[in-house]
Amino acid sequence: MKNKGKKPLELYLHIPFCVKKCDYCDFLSGPSGTETRKAYTEALIREIQALPEHLDREVVSVFTGGGTPSLLDASDMERIMAALRDRFEFSENAEITIEANPGTLSSDKLEIYRAAGINRLSLGLQSADNRELQLLGRIHTYEEFLESYELARAAGFDNINIDLMSAIPEQTCEKWIHNLKTAAELKPEHISAYSLIVEDGTPFARRELKLPGEDEEYQMYEDTADILKRYGFEQYEISNYAKNGYECRHNIGYWKRTEYLGLGLGSASLVDEELWKCLCGEETSGSSEREGMDGTEYCSPEQREYRFCNTRNLQEYLESSRNPRIIRRDVAALSEREQQEEFMFLGLRMTKGISVQEFRGRFGKEIEEIYGKVLKKYEAMGFLEESGGFWRFTRKGIHVSNHILSDFLQD
């Protein structure tokens, strides 16, 4: 039997609590009392403990997102991490991230995170301008952010991401560049720069906002890559920039469709058929069957994949988290066609693009056979390019990527 190592698995933990919901935010989160947070921690640990033991997977990354996960007591986070380590086998250099917001961190908390194995911190700054922060409904000032950032460095965090937001109401290109430079000068390892999307149902959607025009947004996006490059950040995804070697592996996993398991309220998962059966308790472990196989680690073309999502109802989650059958929703078996579509529209988000060879390996077909027409059309128009066995967006194409990506859905 070949010893190829286990198939990688990513974990996502959702902590749906924040101090105060920001005015643009449409994520599943909201303010809460200490007791709810305690109850949630217990429920999350129950969900972890209810997972089958000895899953034939190696955890390569954990991402704790929210909400504001740093709002949980450090001891709670410690217990959650312990529960995970108890249940899963972690790879040696697993990337373990927690999202944090200024004003919710302390040296003690950061120490405990470190001790629990958390090795990456994602800090929400959004803007270096206090007026803009106020307009967004953020709970902190730039100075408070700076304090948190320095605490994190002092605690030994050597992989920090800063979240920034462009196209904030009334923002000019100059102001955005200022924010960008201010963040870059702090020398984080990673910067995520999103542009504001006004989502239905948020306070922003009900407000009359002076949003920057399309041309300004275009310029902001163009400047972002240029300026960050000067500070040593390379763009590797539509909204993500990193120093060499610090690309967020967890996120890349999403774009490359590595298997992931979402834990906590409203979390989404993607698993292959074997893991799905295993999670459903149909087999205690997939290993016995896998032994007979020739060691192929990746989905064969016929293999189905499953997506599902945990309930978004907090009460239900608190009551039933130990019973996956109750909390799992929207289970969808992905056909090969859907897998191909996702492979394309997720993979093309990465500046490196998608590998022709990987497509062949996964689906047993040439990419040309399925997508030749679309790829050629946009190549001719100068929005896509191919080199070294990869298809990717050109600089011109990335600006209108969303428009183009929908063409990768098959008829």
């Binding site: 979402g262 969808a332 128009m381 428009h403």
Partner: protein, 602 residues
């Protein structure tokens, strides 16, 4: 054999919304043909579309039995008539099948334009008109005023007109009694040679064409060898019968004075044209009933399936619709922009809209319609004359000597306060004033000669809006006139879009071109590159707009694992693209092809 003196053949005429269909329902209900539970509002209008639009498209008929106060049983044949100018010919044939007409007048609104037009039409057919005052339950009802209006304006005895509410059923018996008393019984000769008027026909997949007819003389039964006098088609009758509500009830024989149907394994409705006279092969009547004319399509447009793969479905659907509608014409055509489709001919714009809606609704087809046009006569320098129904087929200008367009004599009934507004409208539409007759102090009949192509777009709507609904239009084709016509082409991204070309008068070409470009700019979504939209006559560009390129469309934040949400967004976008037509590199929404039909909407 039914005694003719116990038969009453009549129709109901009214201005729109005065309660024609509701009264018909009430009459059917009161005579006990149906229980209340079986009643579905507006029984006679049984196409969904008719019920929704509140209009009657096809003629319908129903036979009911009424036991009158004199103790006798009477047979009522109620024939419903279409109410729109497009179907005027069908109306006149329906009226010709009747002996009398019930005139419904709204007790609050009184006489309206269509009331008059319909009355005159009924009188033209020598029908006895029985006025009925409806909606007396309305708080604003003024039956006395309306009665004297009927007497003054129409000159119709109305003193003892039934005052009813068709809605609540109040005094419906009065109407039924007066039908017996005041509408004359038919007076045909059952022993004379067969002479029957076809007033409608429908196609049934089992029985073939079902011919609706009114027997003037003679009788018809199973086995009768019949001949259609205009089309010359002859066949042997398989079944005769009369009309129950929503179904056909076979009987042994139909005789003079009766209204009913016959079937004869007829495969094609065009063999049994509305207005034609049916007689016996062996014993033909001396002469046909007057008034038959072959209905000619007046308006043409291209109909294309939104999804090219549905071409076959569209063809099948048109075939089926034509079975029921001999006035629908179609033939295959090809468009560079729209692919394979059909050039279709209609009686008018409403007819077009109705066919379009029926195709979409009853046959589940998504359609793209091109701008409607009329038949132009193109006189070429080589002496050839072309009848042009598709602008794309217009020869090169150098080969054209001159062109002619069809004209109509339009009669517009209008209240005096709107005369100015309507005259302006006619002037704008290149109308030639012919004259004006005052019908009475407040009402006039305006006569104009108008190009047909000016009234097929939205003339009817404009007329209604400029007269607050009071004006009514009737028109007759009156030949062709020479005219300065040009073909206006639309270029999208420098490519001519044939489906958007149309013929227009030289004087209005610039204005139309400009409006088309403006409208298209609104309708064509921004794409990955800049798109010029131009209007051109020949090689001369007369208007231009530009759809700017899309610069930024990035879905920045995509919450990690929740891919299904992102996919839904992409699917929505893809769905939107599907409803577009690819012309060169440009995606043009189907809506854009249609938006140019309504350029004058403010």
């Amino acid at each position: 054999m039914t005694d003719q003196s116990k038969i009453r053949n009549f129709c109901i005429i009214a201005h729109i919304d005065h309660g024609k269909s509701t009264l018909a329902d009430r009459i059917i209900e009161k005579t006990g043909l149906l229980t209340q539970r079986e009643m579905q509002a507006q029984i006679l209008d049984n196409m969904d579309l008719e019920r929704e639009r509140g209009i009657t498209i096809k003629s319908q008929a129903v036979r009911i039995v009424y036991k009158a106060k004199d103790g006798e049983e009477y047979i009522f044949n109620l024939i419903d008539t279409p109410g729109h100018v497009d179907f005027n010919y069908e109306v006149s044939r329906s009226l010709a099948a009747c002996d009398g007409a019930i005139l419904v007048v709204d007790a609050a609104q009184g006489i309206e334009a269509q009331t008059l037009a319909n009355v005159y039409l009924a009188l033209e057919h020598n029908l006895d008109v029985l006025p009925v005052i409806n909606k007396i339950d309305l708080p604003s009802a003024e039956p006395d005023r309306v009665i004297s209006e009927i007497e003054d304006v129409i000159g119709l005895e109305a003193e003892d007109a039934p005052r009813i509410s068709a809605k609540t059923g109040l005094n419906i018996e009065d109407v039924l009694e007066q039908i017996v008393e005041k509408i004359p019984a038919p007076e045909g000769n059952p022993d004379a040679p067969l002479k029957a008027l076809i007033f409608d026909s429908i196609y049934d997949s089992y029985k073939g064409v079902i011919v609706f007819c009114r027997l003037m003389d003679g009788c018809i039964r199973k086995g009768t060898e019949v001949k259609m006098m205009a089309t010359g088609f002859s066949t042997e009758v398989v079944e005769v019968g009369y009309f129950g509500a929503g179904r056909f009830i076979p009987c042994d024989e139909l005789s003079a004075g009766m209204v009913g149907y016959f079937t004869a394994s007829i495969k094609n409705v065009s063999d049994t044209r509305v207005g034609d006279t049916v007689t016996e092969v062996t014993r033909p009547c001396a002469e046909a009933l007057p008034g038959y004319k072959k209905v000619q399509p007046m308006v043409y447009c291209g109909l294309y399936p939104a999804d090219g793969a549905k071409y076959g479905d569209l063809r099948d659907a048109l075939e089926k619709l034509q079975l029921n509608d001999a006035s629908l014409f179609y033939e295959p055509e090809t468009s560079v922009a729209l692919g394979f489709g059909f050039r279709c001919g209609f009686l008018g714009l409403l007819h077009l809209e109705i066919i379009q809606e029926r195709l979409e609704r009853e046959y589940n087809l998504d359609l793209v319609t091109t701008a409607p046009g009329v038949i132009y006569k193109v006189y070429k320098t080589n002496g050839e004359v072309i009848e042009l129904t598709n602008p794309s087929n217009l020869p090169d200008p150098s080969e054209i000597e001159y062109m002619e367009e069809p004209m109509v004599n339009a009669e517009i009934m209008v209240t005096t306060e709107f005369i100015g507004a309507i005259m302006d409208l006619c002037q704008e539409r290149r109308g030639q004033y012919i004259g004006m007759d005052y019908m009475e102090e407040t009402r006039a009949l305006l006569k104009y000669k108008l190009p047909l192509n000016e009234i097929i777009y939205d003339f009817f709507d404009a007329l209604k809006s400029r007269s607050r609904g009071y004006a009514s239009l009737d028109y007759d084709l009156c030949g062709y006139e020479r005219s300065e016509l040009v073909k206006l082409d639309i270029l999208v991204n420098k490519e001519e879009v044939d489906a958007l070309s149309f013929i227009v008068h030289a004087e209005t070409a610039y204005e139309r071109g400009r409006k088309m470009c403006e409208k298209l700019k609104e309708e064509i979504p921004r794409q990955l590159f800049e798109i010029p939209i131009q209007a051109a006559i020949g090689s001369k560009i007369i208007a231009r707009e530009t759809v700017k390129a899309m610069r930024k469309d990035v879905l920045a934040k995509c919450y990690g694992g929740d891919i299904s949400r992102k996919k839904k967004l992409l699917e929505k976008q893809k769905e939107g693209k599907k409803r577009m037509r690819q012309v060169g590199n440009v995606e043009i929404p189907q809506k854009a092809f249609m938006s140019v039909l309504k350029l004058d909407e403010k």
